[in-house]
Symmetry: C2
Subunit: 214 residues, 2 copies
């Protein structure tokens, strides 16, 4: 049975999965890249940026799992772009350039659907106004028997957790206090009872937590 997975989802000590004040220049708002520095220095993410080298240790071991065996991604609209409400035009095609890193169908959850956008390299952005369960059914159909990744942001991951649709989740706890932004854990009291949880700290100071559904 294909699984539903979350990878490399960074949160602060105070539980924020992104900062406040997202804009075109600041995809993560005032958090900037501080939640993701640990990942950006890994072999996997440096290669995605066209850079040589990178860490090969614990951070990399977690980072590189993100696209192994994945056939589709579901993401929230805030991960796709900084716009809100009705689309004023349809020129925006995400933050990732002409050849996005996904190389699979990607389902963007939005109350304002628009036509699908086919990119280079196998990524197609589809726009869905759907519940988590409905979106998952659609993504599973598109995933060709592979797993579906829930790509974020925090609101989307939280909604899939609340609906008990996540089989595997990797959270990277970064020891910073963001103070404001979007919280991951709200409304999820007792989440730990549904998962086996393992933790390991890396030399970057990041604590990697894996949640495996019981």
């Amino acid at each position: 049975m294909p699984r539903v997975r979350v990878h490399n989802f960074s949160v602060s000590l105070d539980g924020f999965g992104t900062g406040e004040g997202q804009s075109l220049d600041a995809p993560f708002g005032h958090a900037q890249m501080r939640l993701h520095e640990w990942a950006l220095e890994t072999l996997t993410f440096r290669a995605m940026q066209g850079k040589p080298g990178g860490g090969a240790g614990v951070d990399e071991a977690f980072a590189r799992s993100w696209n192994q065996g994945i056939g589709a991604e579901i993401m929230g609209r805030g991960k796709f772009g900084p716009q809100h409400g009705a689309w004023t035009d349809e020129k925006w095609k995400g933050w990732w350039g002409d050849n996005p890193v996904f190389h699979t169908p990607v389902f963007v959850l939005t109350h304002h659907p628009r036509p699908a956008v086919q990119m280079e390299g196998g990524t197609t952005f589809h726009f869905l106004d759907a519940s988590p369960a409905e979106a998952l059914a659609t993504a599973r159909d598109a995933a060709g028997g592979l797993d579906v990744r829930i790509g974020g942001g925090p609101t989307t991951v939280r909604e899939f957790l609340a609906a008990d649709l996540i089989d595997h989740m990797h959270v990277a706890l970064v020891p910073i206090v963001l103070g404001r932004g979007v919280r991951l854990w709200d409304g999820l009291e007792g989440l730990e009872r549904r998962f086996d949880i393992e933790s390991v700290t890396s030399p970057s100071g990041t604590t990697h937590l894996t949640f495996t559904r019981r």
Copy 2:
């Protein structure tokens, strides 16, 4: 120079240092002992409960530092007892029996001072209506040149952090989602810039974070 220290301060993934609904039977409210299980199984805390044995690993290494070189403690009223507002009587002498574990002067922050209570074994409870800085000056005078421990709860630790009065803090991050209670990190955005932070995970799943003031 004597330091101001926090030890064995447990928080949940969502940043709660204690649960909701404290009462005489539930000092930590709905969190019960779930934030403190890691500590209760250590040699140090089992000995305090009069029990033999206990873990001697990473959890114990952190747990046992709590009273080394400590000359006084400051605690919030919620750590001392479940009562709120004016004291209806002065019979309550804390949760710790006739011979409390502290064995030093203990300063309880309250807007309702009452006479000091001398216990067996060197613990005296003093009641202070004072700011963090004022309470610290008083505790330092009483500590005989040793360090002062900020004993909790979360509101008290947060206020001392906000006033930049903490030199060393050990936080034990427990992988549970409490959902409600009293948060440690609120109002402390950017706290990490004032501290060097180290992290290590123990086999109990607890992540020990130490904050050392820069």
